[in-house]
Protein backbone atom coordinates (compact mmCIF):
# COMPACT_ATOMS: atom_id res chain seq x y z
CA UNK A 1 0.00 0.00 0.00
CA UNK A 2 2.87 2.33 0.89
CA UNK A 3 4.33 1.56 -2.51
CA UNK A 4 1.07 2.62 -4.17
CA UNK A 5 0.99 5.87 -2.19
CA UNK A 6 4.46 6.73 -3.44
CA UNK A 7 3.55 5.79 -6.99
CA UNK A 8 0.53 8.09 -6.87
CA UNK A 9 2.85 10.99 -6.20
CA UNK A 10 5.10 9.74 -8.98
CA UNK A 11 2.09 9.75 -11.35
CA UNK A 12 1.50 13.46 -10.67
CA UNK A 13 5.17 14.18 -11.28
CA UNK A 14 5.03 12.12 -14.49
CA UNK A 15 2.36 14.42 -15.91
CA UNK A 16 4.49 17.42 -14.97
CA UNK A 17 7.32 15.97 -17.06
CA UNK A 18 9.38 15.71 -13.93
CA UNK A 19 10.52 12.07 -13.80
CA UNK A 20 13.93 10.53 -14.34
CA UNK A 21 14.17 7.68 -16.85
CA UNK A 22 14.50 4.95 -14.21
CA UNK A 23 11.54 6.34 -12.23
CA UNK A 24 9.48 6.28 -15.40
CA UNK A 25 10.36 2.63 -16.02
CA UNK A 26 9.41 1.69 -12.46
CA UNK A 27 6.11 3.53 -12.79
CA UNK A 28 5.32 1.81 -16.09
CA UNK A 29 5.98 -1.57 -14.52
CA UNK A 30 3.83 -0.77 -11.49
CA UNK A 31 0.76 0.47 -13.35
CA UNK A 32 0.79 -2.65 -15.49
CA UNK A 33 0.51 -4.69 -12.31
CA UNK A 34 -1.73 -2.48 -10.12
CA UNK A 35 -5.29 -1.77 -11.29
CA UNK A 36 -5.92 1.07 -8.79
CA UNK A 37 -2.79 2.95 -9.76
CA UNK A 38 -3.67 2.43 -13.41
CA UNK A 39 -7.03 4.10 -12.74
CA UNK A 40 -5.23 6.97 -11.00
CA UNK A 41 -2.89 7.24 -13.97
CA UNK A 42 -5.80 7.43 -16.42
CA UNK A 43 -7.49 10.06 -14.24
CA UNK A 44 -4.42 12.30 -14.32
CA UNK A 45 -4.00 11.65 -18.02
CA UNK A 46 -7.53 12.85 -18.71
CA UNK A 47 -7.11 15.84 -16.41
CA UNK A 48 -3.86 16.84 -18.15
CA UNK A 49 -5.62 16.49 -21.50
CA UNK A 50 -8.53 18.68 -20.40
CA UNK A 51 -6.26 21.36 -18.97
CA UNK A 52 -4.06 21.34 -22.05
CA UNK A 53 -7.08 21.72 -24.30
CA UNK A 54 -8.78 24.44 -22.33
CA UNK A 55 -9.84 26.91 -25.01
CA UNK A 56 -8.38 30.39 -25.06
CA UNK A 57 -10.77 33.25 -24.54
CA UNK A 58 -11.20 35.22 -27.74
CA UNK A 59 -10.35 38.87 -27.31
CA UNK A 60 -12.68 41.30 -29.09
CA UNK A 61 -11.12 43.24 -31.98
CA UNK A 62 -11.90 46.48 -30.18
CA UNK A 63 -9.08 45.73 -27.74
CA UNK A 64 -6.45 46.00 -30.47
CA UNK A 65 -8.17 48.87 -32.26
CA UNK A 66 -8.20 50.92 -29.08
CA UNK A 67 -4.46 50.43 -28.52
CA UNK A 68 -3.49 50.94 -32.16
CA UNK A 69 -5.39 54.23 -32.26
CA UNK A 70 -3.07 55.48 -29.52
CA UNK A 71 0.12 54.46 -31.31
CA UNK A 72 1.49 57.11 -33.67
CA UNK A 73 2.94 56.22 -37.05
CA UNK A 74 6.70 55.72 -37.10
CA UNK A 75 8.38 59.08 -36.59
CA UNK A 76 11.91 60.25 -35.91
CA UNK A 77 11.91 61.52 -32.38
CA UNK A 78 14.54 61.82 -29.75
CA UNK A 79 14.58 58.73 -27.59
CA UNK A 80 16.30 58.71 -24.26
CA UNK A 81 19.96 57.71 -24.77
CA UNK A 82 20.68 54.22 -23.69
CA UNK A 83 23.98 53.06 -22.31
CA UNK A 84 25.66 49.81 -23.03
CA UNK A 85 29.06 48.51 -21.94
CA UNK A 86 30.86 49.94 -25.03
CA UNK A 87 29.69 53.47 -24.32
CA UNK A 88 30.51 53.19 -20.64
CA UNK A 89 33.97 51.82 -21.55
CA UNK A 90 34.60 54.73 -23.98
CA UNK A 91 33.60 57.31 -21.38
CA UNK A 92 35.76 55.59 -18.76
CA UNK A 93 38.76 55.57 -21.13
CA UNK A 94 38.38 59.30 -21.79
CA UNK A 95 38.08 59.97 -18.06
CA UNK A 96 41.16 57.87 -17.31
CA UNK A 97 43.14 59.60 -20.09
CA UNK A 98 42.24 63.01 -18.69
CA UNK A 99 43.05 61.86 -15.18
CA UNK A 100 46.48 60.63 -16.22
CA UNK A 101 47.12 63.88 -18.09
CA UNK A 102 46.23 66.02 -15.06
CA UNK A 103 48.23 63.86 -12.64
CA UNK A 104 51.24 63.90 -14.98
CA UNK A 105 51.21 67.70 -15.15
CA UNK A 106 51.03 68.12 -11.35
CA UNK A 107 53.22 65.17 -10.38
CA UNK A 108 55.76 64.57 -13.13
CA UNK A 109 57.14 61.02 -12.95
CA UNK A 110 60.92 60.34 -12.73
CA UNK A 111 62.65 60.39 -16.06
CA UNK A 112 62.67 57.14 -17.97
CA UNK A 113 63.26 56.32 -21.60
CA UNK A 114 59.65 56.96 -22.55
CA UNK A 115 59.42 60.09 -20.40
CA UNK A 116 62.56 61.50 -22.01
CA UNK A 117 61.00 60.91 -25.41
CA UNK A 118 57.65 62.46 -24.38
CA UNK A 119 59.44 65.43 -22.76
CA UNK A 120 61.44 66.02 -25.89
CA UNK A 121 58.30 65.88 -27.96
CA UNK A 122 56.49 68.36 -25.71
CA UNK A 123 59.50 70.68 -25.65
CA UNK A 124 59.63 70.54 -29.42
CA UNK A 125 55.96 71.50 -29.68
CA UNK A 126 56.39 74.35 -27.17
CA UNK A 127 59.44 75.56 -29.04
CA UNK A 128 57.51 75.49 -32.30
CA UNK A 129 54.57 77.32 -30.76
CA UNK A 130 56.85 79.94 -29.20
CA UNK A 131 58.19 80.66 -32.65
CA UNK A 132 54.74 81.67 -33.73
CA UNK A 133 54.54 85.42 -33.57
CA UNK A 134 50.77 85.61 -33.53
CA UNK A 135 49.33 84.53 -30.11
CA UNK A 136 45.94 84.17 -31.74
CA UNK A 137 47.28 81.04 -33.36
CA UNK A 138 47.44 79.37 -29.95
CA UNK A 139 43.91 80.52 -29.15
CA UNK A 140 42.86 79.14 -32.51
CA UNK A 141 44.34 75.73 -31.67
CA UNK A 142 42.51 75.64 -28.34
CA UNK A 143 39.25 76.78 -29.93
CA UNK A 144 39.65 74.15 -32.63
CA UNK A 145 40.15 71.44 -30.00
CA UNK A 146 37.02 72.50 -28.14
CA UNK A 147 34.94 72.59 -31.33
CA UNK A 148 36.29 69.20 -32.34
CA UNK A 149 35.44 67.70 -28.94
CA UNK A 150 31.94 69.16 -28.95
CA UNK A 151 31.23 67.93 -32.45
CA UNK A 152 32.37 64.43 -31.42
CA UNK A 153 29.94 64.52 -28.52
CA UNK A 154 27.22 65.77 -30.86
CA UNK A 155 27.76 62.90 -33.31
CA UNK A 156 27.75 60.45 -30.42
CA UNK A 157 24.43 61.89 -29.29
CA UNK A 158 23.03 61.65 -32.82
CA UNK A 159 23.75 57.92 -32.85
CA UNK A 160 21.50 57.64 -29.80
CA UNK A 161 18.53 59.21 -31.55
CA UNK A 162 16.35 56.43 -32.83
CA UNK A 163 13.32 55.96 -34.93
CA UNK A 164 10.82 55.71 -32.18
CA UNK A 165 7.76 57.33 -30.82
CA UNK A 166 7.81 55.98 -27.31
CA UNK A 167 7.76 59.33 -25.60
CA UNK A 168 4.47 60.29 -27.23
CA UNK A 169 2.10 58.37 -24.99
Amino acid sequence: MNGCREFRQTIIRFFSGDLAENEEKLLNKHIRECGRCKKEFLFHKEMAFMLKNRPLSEAPESVIEKVLSLIPEKKLVYAKPYFNWRIILSISCVAVAWGIAVITIYFPPPLSFINIFVNKLILMIIKYLSLVKNPYFLIGVVAYSIVFSLSSIFFFWKTQVREAAFSRI
Binding site: Q9, F15, L56, I64, V67, K74, K75
Partner: protein, 187 residues
Protein backbone atom coordinates in the same frame (compact mmCIF):
# COMPACT_ATOMS: atom_id res chain seq x y z
CA UNK B 1 6.72 35.78 -41.98
CA UNK B 2 9.12 37.64 -39.71
CA UNK B 3 11.44 35.80 -37.35
CA UNK B 4 11.16 36.73 -33.67
CA UNK B 5 14.45 38.65 -33.86
CA UNK B 6 13.31 40.69 -36.86
CA UNK B 7 9.97 41.36 -35.23
CA UNK B 8 11.65 42.56 -32.03
CA UNK B 9 13.92 44.87 -34.04
CA UNK B 10 10.93 46.41 -35.76
CA UNK B 11 9.06 46.70 -32.48
CA UNK B 12 11.99 48.45 -30.86
CA UNK B 13 12.15 50.91 -33.74
CA UNK B 14 8.49 51.81 -33.09
CA UNK B 15 7.04 50.25 -36.24
CA UNK B 16 3.27 50.41 -35.86
CA UNK B 17 2.67 47.52 -38.29
CA UNK B 18 4.96 45.31 -36.21
CA UNK B 19 2.90 46.10 -33.13
CA UNK B 20 -0.26 45.24 -35.01
CA UNK B 21 1.24 41.84 -35.92
CA UNK B 22 2.31 41.28 -32.32
CA UNK B 23 -1.07 42.23 -30.89
CA UNK B 24 -2.94 39.99 -33.33
CA UNK B 25 -0.67 37.09 -32.35
CA UNK B 26 -0.88 37.58 -28.59
CA UNK B 27 -4.25 39.25 -27.96
CA UNK B 28 -6.08 36.01 -27.18
CA UNK B 29 -3.37 34.73 -24.84
CA UNK B 30 -3.15 38.03 -22.98
CA UNK B 31 -6.94 38.20 -22.80
CA UNK B 32 -7.03 34.62 -21.48
CA UNK B 33 -4.44 35.40 -18.80
CA UNK B 34 -6.52 38.39 -17.71
CA UNK B 35 -9.74 36.31 -17.72
CA UNK B 36 -8.10 33.71 -15.53
CA UNK B 37 -6.64 36.21 -13.07
CA UNK B 38 -9.28 38.91 -12.74
CA UNK B 39 -12.74 38.16 -11.44
CA UNK B 40 -14.21 41.50 -12.37
CA UNK B 41 -15.44 40.65 -15.85
CA UNK B 42 -16.36 44.26 -16.69
CA UNK B 43 -12.72 45.27 -16.51
CA UNK B 44 -11.20 42.52 -18.63
CA UNK B 45 -11.20 44.39 -21.95
CA UNK B 46 -9.77 47.57 -20.42
CA UNK B 47 -7.08 45.65 -18.57
CA UNK B 48 -6.11 43.77 -21.75
CA UNK B 49 -5.81 47.09 -23.63
CA UNK B 50 -3.70 48.50 -20.80
CA UNK B 51 -1.37 45.49 -21.00
CA UNK B 52 -0.96 45.83 -24.78
CA UNK B 53 -0.22 49.52 -24.32
CA UNK B 54 2.31 48.67 -21.62
CA UNK B 55 3.98 46.22 -24.01
CA UNK B 56 4.21 49.02 -26.59
CA UNK B 57 5.67 51.49 -24.13
CA UNK B 58 8.18 49.13 -22.56
CA UNK B 59 9.28 47.04 -25.51
CA UNK B 60 12.75 48.60 -25.38
CA UNK B 61 13.24 47.09 -21.95
CA UNK B 62 12.77 43.61 -23.40
CA UNK B 63 16.01 41.72 -22.89
CA UNK B 64 16.42 39.51 -25.94
CA UNK B 65 17.99 36.71 -23.92
CA UNK B 66 14.49 35.71 -22.83
CA UNK B 67 11.66 34.60 -25.12
CA UNK B 68 9.31 37.35 -26.28
CA UNK B 69 6.30 35.29 -25.21
CA UNK B 70 7.72 34.88 -21.68
CA UNK B 71 8.26 38.63 -21.43
CA UNK B 72 4.71 39.34 -22.63
CA UNK B 73 3.24 36.87 -20.12
CA UNK B 74 5.30 38.50 -17.37
CA UNK B 75 4.02 41.98 -18.28
CA UNK B 76 0.45 40.63 -18.30
CA UNK B 77 0.89 38.75 -15.02
CA UNK B 78 2.50 41.70 -13.20
CA UNK B 79 -0.16 44.08 -14.47
CA UNK B 80 -2.92 41.80 -13.18
CA UNK B 81 -1.15 41.37 -9.83
CA UNK B 82 -0.88 45.18 -9.52
CA UNK B 83 -4.58 45.50 -10.38
CA UNK B 84 -5.57 42.91 -7.76
CA UNK B 85 -3.34 44.57 -5.13
CA UNK B 86 -4.96 47.93 -5.90
CA UNK B 87 -8.43 46.41 -5.55
CA UNK B 88 -7.55 44.90 -2.21
CA UNK B 89 -6.62 48.37 -0.98
CA UNK B 90 -10.03 49.66 -2.01
CA UNK B 91 -12.66 47.54 -0.26
CA UNK B 92 -15.52 49.34 -2.02
CA UNK B 93 -14.35 48.14 -5.41
CA UNK B 94 -13.05 44.77 -4.34
CA UNK B 95 -15.46 41.94 -3.90
CA UNK B 96 -15.08 38.34 -3.05
CA UNK B 97 -14.14 36.23 -6.05
CA UNK B 98 -16.99 34.21 -7.44
CA UNK B 99 -17.10 30.75 -6.06
CA UNK B 100 -16.40 28.13 -8.69
CA UNK B 101 -19.85 26.66 -8.47
CA UNK B 102 -21.62 30.02 -8.55
CA UNK B 103 -19.74 30.96 -11.68
CA UNK B 104 -21.16 27.86 -13.37
CA UNK B 105 -24.72 28.94 -12.90
CA UNK B 106 -24.03 32.64 -13.28
CA UNK B 107 -26.17 34.57 -15.75
CA UNK B 108 -23.07 36.33 -17.11
CA UNK B 109 -20.74 33.42 -17.74
CA UNK B 110 -17.01 33.55 -18.33
CA UNK B 111 -16.30 34.24 -22.05
CA UNK B 112 -14.65 30.82 -22.30
CA UNK B 113 -17.67 28.91 -21.11
CA UNK B 114 -19.63 29.22 -24.32
CA UNK B 115 -17.27 26.85 -26.09
CA UNK B 116 -16.86 24.27 -23.34
CA UNK B 117 -17.67 20.73 -24.28
CA UNK B 118 -18.77 18.90 -21.20
CA UNK B 119 -19.87 19.38 -17.64
CA UNK B 120 -16.70 17.67 -16.45
CA UNK B 121 -14.58 20.23 -18.31
CA UNK B 122 -16.66 23.05 -16.85
CA UNK B 123 -16.24 21.76 -13.32
CA UNK B 124 -12.51 21.23 -13.70
CA UNK B 125 -11.98 24.72 -15.14
CA UNK B 126 -14.17 26.24 -12.44
CA UNK B 127 -12.14 24.43 -9.80
CA UNK B 128 -8.92 25.76 -11.33
CA UNK B 129 -10.38 29.28 -11.29
CA UNK B 130 -11.36 28.95 -7.65
CA UNK B 131 -7.84 28.08 -6.49
CA UNK B 132 -5.64 30.69 -4.80
CA UNK B 133 -4.02 32.99 -7.35
CA UNK B 134 -0.48 31.53 -7.31
CA UNK B 135 -1.60 27.90 -7.69
CA UNK B 136 -4.13 28.90 -10.31
CA UNK B 137 -1.62 30.78 -12.39
CA UNK B 138 1.10 28.13 -12.15
CA UNK B 139 -1.28 25.49 -13.48
CA UNK B 140 -2.65 27.87 -16.11
CA UNK B 141 0.77 28.90 -17.37
CA UNK B 142 1.97 25.30 -17.35
CA UNK B 143 -0.78 24.21 -19.71
CA UNK B 144 -1.00 27.48 -21.64
CA UNK B 145 1.25 27.03 -24.67
CA UNK B 146 3.21 24.45 -22.62
CA UNK B 147 5.30 26.99 -20.80
CA UNK B 148 8.42 25.51 -19.15
CA UNK B 149 9.16 25.59 -15.41
CA UNK B 150 11.96 28.08 -16.06
CA UNK B 151 9.65 30.40 -17.99
CA UNK B 152 6.93 30.18 -15.34
CA UNK B 153 9.52 30.98 -12.69
CA UNK B 154 10.57 34.07 -14.71
CA UNK B 155 7.00 35.17 -15.36
CA UNK B 156 5.90 34.88 -11.75
CA UNK B 157 9.20 35.78 -10.11
CA UNK B 158 9.37 32.64 -7.98
CA UNK B 159 12.01 29.87 -7.82
CA UNK B 160 11.65 26.81 -10.09
CA UNK B 161 11.32 24.56 -7.02
CA UNK B 162 8.32 26.59 -5.85
CA UNK B 163 6.73 26.33 -9.30
CA UNK B 164 7.03 22.53 -9.09
CA UNK B 165 5.59 22.46 -5.58
CA UNK B 166 2.62 24.67 -6.54
CA UNK B 167 1.92 22.54 -9.61
CA UNK B 168 2.03 19.35 -7.56
CA UNK B 169 -0.25 20.73 -4.85
CA UNK B 170 -2.66 22.15 -7.43
CA UNK B 171 -3.03 18.74 -9.07
CA UNK B 172 -3.56 17.00 -5.74
CA UNK B 173 -6.22 19.60 -4.88
CA UNK B 174 -7.99 19.19 -8.23
CA UNK B 175 -8.00 15.41 -7.93
CA UNK B 176 -9.42 15.59 -4.40
CA UNK B 177 -12.16 18.04 -5.38
CA UNK B 178 -13.13 16.12 -8.52
CA UNK B 179 -13.46 12.97 -6.44
CA UNK B 180 -15.53 14.78 -3.80
CA UNK B 181 -17.88 15.99 -6.50
CA UNK B 182 -18.34 12.49 -7.79
CA UNK B 183 -16.66 12.86 -11.14
CA UNK B 184 -14.27 10.08 -10.32
CA UNK B 185 -14.73 7.17 -8.01
CA UNK B 186 -12.44 7.08 -4.99
CA UNK B 187 -9.29 5.13 -5.63
Amino acid sequence: MLSEKELVEKLKSGDKRAFETLFIEYKDIVYTIVCRMIYNKNQIEDITSDILLKIYKNIRQFDERAKLSTWIYRVAYNHCVDYITKLKRNPLEAYKPLDAMFSLSSSSPNPEEASLKSEKDKVLYALVDSMPERYRMVINFYYLEETSYKDISEIMGIPIGTVKTYLFRAKVYLKKKMQEMGFYERM
